[in-house]
Amino acid sequence: MKKNFLRLLRNPTAAFGLSVLLLVFFIAIFAPVLTPHDPIRGDLMVRLRPGFWSPLSEPGYPLGTDMLGRDILTRVLYGARVSLAVGFGAVFFSLLVGGSLGLCAGFFRGRFDDYISRFVDWLMAFPLLLFLILVMGVLGPGTWNLVFALTLKGWVPFFRLVRGEVLSEREKPYVEAAWAIGRNSGSIMFQEILPNITHTLVVLATLRMGIVILMEATLSFLGLGVSPHIPAWGSMIAAGRGYMQVAWWLPVFPGLGILFTVLSLNLLGEGLRDILDPRLRK
């Protein structure tokens, strides 16, 4: 574990990804301490003010203000909370559902595996964004609804990965040895096979979180994300779009938040893949 962590720090892309991600986490957790402004209530006297780059800027608002006089920096900081919370929630539940089903399907095979694999094939044929728009259109905006919708299709990649890994692991000598000494299927699945496939799951979870955050931002942009009063990067871009002729900073900064967060996850995921997957290790 310690060895892998050191290897991670020595890998420049992974180390960069991890640092940016930790920074985003820090921002999300300590947003109320980091900024004196309220993310929801603004000061109409300072609406649509540019930031530090302009002589017209208002002191205390380094990235400018929006159409309601709210501080853009504050809202971007608070926006990290939504993206990370939804990203973590959806990936956690997807991992739980997809991982458990994949473990059972790969281990027991038979009819259960057939049915569930067929169902997965069908679900895969449903274009992701269309599926999410449909489900969120029906459920309505909300953080939990978003996590639910993203999990509803998000478990599929975890299922496919775990099933495939378990299918190959269960034929290996250490599993045969476990059977031979009289271990039951539950303990073989959770104590023998699961630890051997954890590393691939970690890589997939990291990469999936980037995709989930992009989807969350897209849905928020379309007005189908979290509740409208919560500052989210996607909805900030949507609201700022109407003012881009006069205030370009409104849609630009929340987008940078998404870009850096997803980029850090992708770089970390790639780095982790290099480190944890011995087949790919150079």
């Binding site: 449903f126 029906v138 849609p251």
Partner: protein
């Protein structure tokens, strides 16, 4: 390719379409928000009789299984129903909107190939160089960037700052060519209308760049890795030792063999470009199928949503089938 395989794939295709139809039908029926209430919103003096009459007209008074039966039998007869709101045949709406989505998807795909393929080849040939690292870095940015945000950046630069390209719609009033196929570029070429052609292309540039940029990053990544694999093969060494020019080795010998993973990506891309352009259509007010479906979901216009989703799914599955068939044409070793 055996007939048996094709039949099997066709049955599978029907299964998927039935599944998606059923899923869409159920999820719309269990959703909160009654289409009748939404249609009558804002109307004055509504009586219970009005509500009942409208519910009956829309067929929503019948039990769930009858509604489902009616819907499926309608599909078999080729009837997708009437839009609750637009009071028009859903099929007509799809026919009207689909060419716009198709035009955007094809143009975006074209752009993604024009950018992605050369970049992928250069990165592979100059493996581990500064250029390769730079390309890979930009690629990471491309796949980490939300397409709608990139679209807004493009609008800010080309429309707001430079003022050279339009930000909305497919064309401007009075510049539409005579409608033949519904695809403006083709129609303007067929009618030799150069002004309409230029206007249509100008309107297409930003949305297709926004849509195609992320995909060009994916294409160049896949092509780079498959080219790297191919370039280390013995036959490439043989080709080089015969004294062939680098460009001939790369383009004729290596690229051809590195194309198979590309076809998979291109196929999946074509499907997701059609699905993924929903958000780009919204950003650019592009009158395509995606914006039709999004609007219909908000308005609970069941027939439009159902038909739109089925249509998308059908296109998606058909493209996958075409990709599988194309494999055999590109690589004669693959037989189904």
């Amino acid at each position: 390719m055996s007939i048996r395989y094709l039949i099997k794939r066709f049955i599978y295709l029907i299964g998927i379409v039935i599944f998606i139809t059923l899923f869409t039908f159920i999820i719309l029926r269990i959703s909160p928000g009654d289409p009748v209430d939404m249609m009558l919103q804002g109307e004055e003096k509504i009586t219970q009789e009005d509500i009942d009459r409208l519910t009956e007209q829309l067929g929503l008074d019948k039990p769930f299984h009858i509604q489902l039966y009616n819907f499926f039998s309608g599909i078999v007869r080729g009837e997708l129903g009437y839009s609750f709101y637009m009071k028009r045949l859903v099929w007509d709406l799809i026919k009207e909107r689909f060419p716009a989505s198709l035009e955007l998807a094809i143009f975006a795909m074209f752009i993604s190939f024009v950018i992605g393929v050369p970049i992928g080849i250069i990165a592979a040939v100059r493996h581990n160089s500064l250029l390769d690292r730079l390309i890979m870095g930009v690629n990471f940015l491309g796949i980490s960037m939300p397409s709608f945000w990139f679209a807004i950046l493009l609008m800010l630069f080309f429309s707001v700052y430079l003022g050279v390209l339009p930000t909305m719609g497919r064309s401007v009033y009075g510049m539409y060519p005579v409608n033949i196929t519904g695809v403006l570029i083709i129609d303007s070429i067929l009618t030799l209308d150069s002004k309409a052609l230029i206007t249509a292309i100008r309107h297409l540039i930003l949305p297709s760049l926004a849509l195609g940029m992320g995909y060009s990053a994916i294409i160049s990544r896949i092509l780079r890795s498959s080219m790297l694999e191919v370039l280390s093969q013995d036959y490439i060494t043989v080709a080089r030792s015969k004294g062939l020019k680098q460009s001939r080795v790369v383009l004729r010998h290596a690229l051809r063999n590195a194309l198979i993973p590309m076809i998979t990506v291109a196929g999946l891309e074509a499907g997701s470009l059609l699905g993924g352009n929903i958000v780009i259509e919204t950003v650019f007010s592009w009158p395509g199928l995606g914006s039709l479906i999004t609007g219909a979901i908000f308005a609970r216009d069941y027939p439009v949503v159902q038909a739109g989703v089925i249509f998308y799914a059908l296109v998606f599955v058909l493209i996958n089938l075409i990709v599988d068939i194309t494999y055999t044409l590109v690589d004669p070793r693959i037989r189904w």
